[in-house]
Symmetry: D2
Subunit: 280 residues, 4 copies
Amino acid sequence: MSLIDVACDLTYQVRTTTVFLFQIEAARTPRQCVISENLSLNPNVTVETFEIGTDGNQLQRVSVEPCTLEVSYRATVELKPGKEDSNDIGESPISQTPPAVLTYLNPSRYSESDLLSRFAFEEFGQLYPGFSRVQAICNWVFDHLDYTPGSTNANTTASDVLLQRTGVCRDYAHLAISLCRGMGIPARYVAGYAVNLQPPDFHGFMEAFLDGKWYLFDPTRLTSVHGLVRIGTGRDAADVSTATITGNTVLTQQIVSATESANNADPVDEDTGASAVSTA
Amino acid sequence: MSLIDVACDLTYQVRTTTVFLFQIEAARTPRQCVISENLSLNPNVTVETFEIGTDGNQLQRVSVEPCTLEVSYRATVELKPGKEDSNDIGESPISQTPPAVLTYLNPSRYSESDLLSRFAFEEFGQLYPGFSRVQAICNWVFDHLDYTPGSTNANTTASDVLLQRTGVCRDYAHLAISLCRGMGIPARYVAGYAVNLQPPDFHGFMEAFLDGKWYLFDPTRLTSVHGLVRIGTGRDAADVSTATITGNTVLTQQIVSATESANNADPVDEDTGASAVSTA
Amino acid sequence: MSLIDVACDLTYQVRTTTVFLFQIEAARTPRQCVISENLSLNPNVTVETFEIGTDGNQLQRVSVEPCTLEVSYRATVELKPGKEDSNDIGESPISQTPPAVLTYLNPSRYSESDLLSRFAFEEFGQLYPGFSRVQAICNWVFDHLDYTPGSTNANTTASDVLLQRTGVCRDYAHLAISLCRGMGIPARYVAGYAVNLQPPDFHGFMEAFLDGKWYLFDPTRLTSVHGLVRIGTGRDAADVSTATITGNTVLTQQIVSATESANNADPVDEDTGASAVSTA
Amino acid sequence: MSLIDVACDLTYQVRTTTVFLFQIEAARTPRQCVISENLSLNPNVTVETFEIGTDGNQLQRVSVEPCTLEVSYRATVELKPGKEDSNDIGESPISQTPPAVLTYLNPSRYSESDLLSRFAFEEFGQLYPGFSRVQAICNWVFDHLDYTPGSTNANTTASDVLLQRTGVCRDYAHLAISLCRGMGIPARYVAGYAVNLQPPDFHGFMEAFLDGKWYLFDPTRLTSVHGLVRIGTGRDAADVSTATITGNTVLTQQIVSATESANNADPVDEDTGASAVSTA
């Protein structure tokens, strides 16, 4: 168990009546408990909060007249990940994959696993199935991409990234997800906060479904998976945008942080890959 | 209310142990009642049936050793669509869209609405919001595409179709879906059986979310929306494949039909567009 | 006849031994006479000058050791375009197109005319053939794109632009070229200097082959075709890069200008479209 | 020196007045001498023959009224390739590349070398420059693609092929060309006849520019480069279509062959890669 303090402050110049859909609150899951949290908006507009999907994603809807909008979120979150010996974790044959997980085998907007399946089998088909194979996929992504802010945009897909060999965290995750799905391993995108991420920002990483559980991976190696706080889970980044904005509005400031809580009894481990982190 | 008989017969040459995920059974929804149905497989292997998602999609999982596999499905389905005056149907502002519907605003594998949003606003932004605008989108798709079997494949997306101006039913649906989403109208893909479809085959069409309900559209104009029997609902065709096959297997025969039942009291209307069909 | 003064000043930080291929000098063509010119480099390295292709393109090759490289070009160019009544100009049937022109019917890297042919015929197939049809294509491009610096990059193609509906001068030209080729009208890319372009920069525009001659068009409407000074001609922008750089080098300053010469006897006309400008 | 007999017979159903641009005749080059040839058309329409470009490409233009058109070509061609020890062949630095060759460094429609440059450097950047590096690129293409007729179409590019890992001869050539260009090695497409190609067909292969000469490579390994008869040279397949057709016409038969001539004094060698074949 670890206690993590997360925070984000967003400022928008709202020029026309605008509807925001925010996904910035920590998700509620069996492995992630929100000990305390506070969301404040200035001006103090009405906030509707929904849980969407079945993975604990929280969504806030706000309608705002022209103004300067400040959004501030603070939370303390307790992480209770399963930690297992990564050597013991195999793959789940499709004949035993739970129905709710099957959707994470389908190609999606940014993870066109149908296009990359042959590539995946060629590169990783001979490897021993299980956690180590997903690790090998993430290692391949890490080794073959250059982390280059500005080299991709909101339209960039896993195929683009595989060709151009550059990207940022969301691109790393999309490519690893595509390669997993392409081999028949369910995989999904996770947006979140990450302890000690430099420079501080929201983070994108991934999960693969192995032996009946979801396991966390960060192909960028920028963080330890032991310190990841989930905001939301989706097929890819299309499902977990920080803010979906309908209206003429500009983001003018964004400050994000995630740190171990002062009274954290169980410091966040480094990610050695020997200890696998399961989340559901 | 209409009674429709649907049937499909599929034959596969199974060369290695193969897992099939079938989506061929009629969905269970408040507006579609399965009066009777029978699924038989020869050889008589064990069939697991799941309901996946929240829209009544039925999925069968079967594991088969090398053989000739014959799958036969028969059902009688009662359609109880809402029928409303299409002139009365407006759009749902995003501030009032139900949370479960928001996912159908996101871009997906074959409906990259993010890429087509500017195009959509340019073409349809000046039209009066509501049912008639979605109809205008479907009309545009019908007018600008040529229905050309073989002109697209399993990788073809709405962007491809918008450029090449040819496609089949799934492509028509993907393009119409993308244009709707691009304008902020939730839209989703429906796979199904269609009365009087020529040549007989599975069909792909779409739904748009308007004034709090889902309404059916078939941009190919090959069928009447009053005679559409839903198999499954998804973001796009990736979610409702007839058969997802893991193994070395070839489809050697496929026969599909949908006809009005002999004791159908309420014949299927022609689709004039004046009477809108709501499904949920 | 018009006299135009053109100038460009480029500064590079050269960090490793670097080979530059420059295309910044005014082309030599029957319709464009270089009255005087001067190219100076500081440090004063050896410059090889080649004429490449058959359209008067000048190319400079320079090999430079690490330094700050300043490139300065000044020229006075006399334009002697043909000016004709645009109403009299038809299209050249492929049965009469000169062999050297046929290559400009082929698709190229940024002008994938094969993908856009059906679109082109659908939009422009009913129009009367000739100059006015190419003008209609350029008008369509102008009307349907937003000129948005930063919205495209060096990989952006005509297909991308047709979907996303934004671009800069090279994108406008690529799309107009593709649509012309898609209809069987030879079209090519021209890089050059443009009188009164705001903000001052190199410019990209296009030519279409009609009735046995090449005619200039600028679908951005940012300039008058009467004041365009050709640097080079190619299938698309891939052929006429300002600088192709092999080495670790960064452009730190670029100043470009084109103005009517003080002793210009024949002021540059506005581009009304009534008077067509032929260049070869 | 080898003597090769080549032949092709094409039959078209011409439904409307149609203009054909054929590229089926053997090219005239210093290394390829056409000893005898005959082109006959039935009905006996007028044929215009042009040499296009500077590499000996022959182009025939024919205008045909509705009919059944039979095109028959026979030629005996003498190949006089240079044969050199492949170990002695280095790369040409861009500072010494002849100006006419520079165009073959540019990206083209089907060989988007700009997109694949980073990939190329990552895979092949550490290899010793020269013939062996181009051979390594061709080996990589051979090893990572499956030769699968029908898996690609006229729109398929090198990027597509690199992702999907299947293709036919033109796709193999496009990918190898792109990877060469991406590393700064000029490369171009060659269409031709190939001795002993099974099944008999036109063939597509490639050349790379090394140490001041063009060298032949066939990444499909379906043929010996010693038995390749050039029809035409281009940036990619867009430049050397067998037939460019303007009109409503269908190809109903195509028979192609290339065999060693009965009085061939110098049998075609196997392609061991030890002996490099230069063509210009």
